[in-house]
């Protein structure tokens, strides 16, 4: 995989359009019956329709702008993306954050820190006292510009739980996926977070890493990968972290583009379908998560947000939020959902089965 410098959207690629992606996911091997659709598969075990349970995780995407252009990015994020959450929408989110029954608030992007109102939003949201307040930080942002150098202190001040991507414990594999120099910057950022107490054994300042494969294969066993990551990062760089979340790449946006260009699409879909695990369906994250887009619309997950598949509910926007009305809604599905039910399952919190 070669590292691009522009998003698919900026390149004017057909695959930047969600309807084009959904068309690919519904045609070919899923149309001719070679592989069962996700709906058919979950129907076999009487798990259709998937229903939203009680909300546990509120995930807010504060914008698609990012300092990196990672090969696999399902958001198609990059420096050229201009979709940024405004302070007005953040205010609407804060009203929900104050009243939600969710135990986890999860800020994502893009690089959430690049939103000009990010710090204001974190300061305000932290006041709500939600049990677990996550910011998905890509690590390099901490070293990208002087104005971000104090982020580790800022995170610590607000007791933010930092969750960061780290594709591998070696420079080669990391830079291949995320761009030249990303590994060294990430190591430096992790050391700075460790210096503040993040990720240290017995520390309450949580630092977790996210691993997702660099190519057309599924992640290995999460516990084994965590052991290997911990050993290598400690021996080579004296770095500590708490948990590793192994996440499967979903066949959408730039990863779908890569799968098609490298002629791996069909094999990858076969892998996902063959690894289908009904136990993972039980705990799939869309059943306890709600995803809010940069412009305030509601989705079952971040992937559905990128595919522009809104929640199947009367409530469509954060401004009309109603937790009771959203509970029990039917989850909107397509073939990309196989990514969350393969093997041990996959979610923004790692394995689920």
């Amino acid at each position: 995989m070669a590292t691009a410098t522009k998003s698919l959207k900026k390149q004017g690629s057909e695959l930047a359009k969600s309807n084009k992606q959904l068309e690919i996911l519904s045609n070919g091997i899923f149309q001719n019956g070679e592989l069962p659709t996700f709906k058919k598969k979950i129907s076999e075990t009487n798990q259709f329709p998937l229903k939203a349970k009680k909300l546990e995780i509120l995930q807010i995407n504060v914008g698609y702008m990012c300092n990196q252009v990672c090969d696999h990015c399902h958001v198609d994020a990059g420096p050229d993306r201009k979709e940024i959450m405004t302070r007005d929408t953040m205010r609407q989110c804060l009203e929900v954050i104050k009243n939600t029954g969710a135990h986890t608030l999860d800020l994502t992007g893009g690089a959430p820190e690049m939103n000009p109102d990010f710090r204001w939003f974190v300061e305000e949201a932290a006041k709500a006292g939600i049990k677990d307040f996550i910011v998905r930080s890509n690590l390099t942002i901490i070293r990208a510009n002087k104005k971000y150098y104090d982020l580790p202190d800022f995170f610590k001040k607000h007791n933010v739980h930092v969750v960061s991507s780290m594709p591998h414990w070696t420079r080669g594999k990391t830079d291949k996926q995320r761009g030249d120099g990303v590994f060294d910057k990430s190591i430096k950022a992790l050391q700075e977070l460790n210096d503040r107490g993040y990720g240290m054994p017995d520390s309450d300042l949580r630092l977790d890493l996210v691993y997702n494969p660099s190519g057309a294969f599924l992640p290995g066993d999460q516990a084994s990968m965590e052991k290997d990551f911990k050993k290598a990062l400690l021996e080579d760089f004296n770095i500590h972290f708490h948990n590793l979340f192994a996440i499967t790449n979903l066949p959408i946006a730039r990863f779908l583009d890569y799968l098609i260009a490298s002629e791996n699409y069909e094999d990858y879909m076969y892998q996902l379908v063959e690894a289908y695990n009904p136990a993972a369906v039980e705990n799939v994250m869309c059943t306890n998560t709600l995803s809010v887009s940069w412009d305030g619309y509601l989705f079952d997950c971040d992937f559905n947000q990128m595919l522009e598949l809104p929640v199947n509910s009367k409530v469509k926007h954060i401004s009309e939020y109603n937790e009771d009305l959203l509970e029990g809604r039917n989850i909107v599905i397509s073939q990309h959902c196989y990514g969350c039910t393969a093997g041990a399952g996959s979610s923004c919190q790692g394995s689920v089965a």
Partner: protein
Amino acid sequence: MSKTYYDPADLRKFGNITEWSEELGNKFFDYYGKVFEEGALTAREKSLIALAVAHTEQCPYCIDAYTKDGLQRGVTKEEMMEAIHVGAAIKSGATLVHGVQMMNKVNKLDG
């Protein structure tokens, strides 16, 4: 009929061998699964051994399967290539050590 001996799609049909001999097929797959479980050796170490043997056996299905398996376990390409060299060294060593047999024979017949 296919015009080639090997078709990558056949690997997905490996399980079908049980259809024509269910008991033996199932026993094989049970054994196979057990062998690759974490034991005195880690599953990662076993994967690398399997990759090396896949090459000495020159089995294209096994090479596909254990290259992917290695990637899934975070095995690097340098580790994979070193493992293959181990297989190659044993394979060529096994050839060359028979040179002693040749030398013995020459010495006996023409010494």
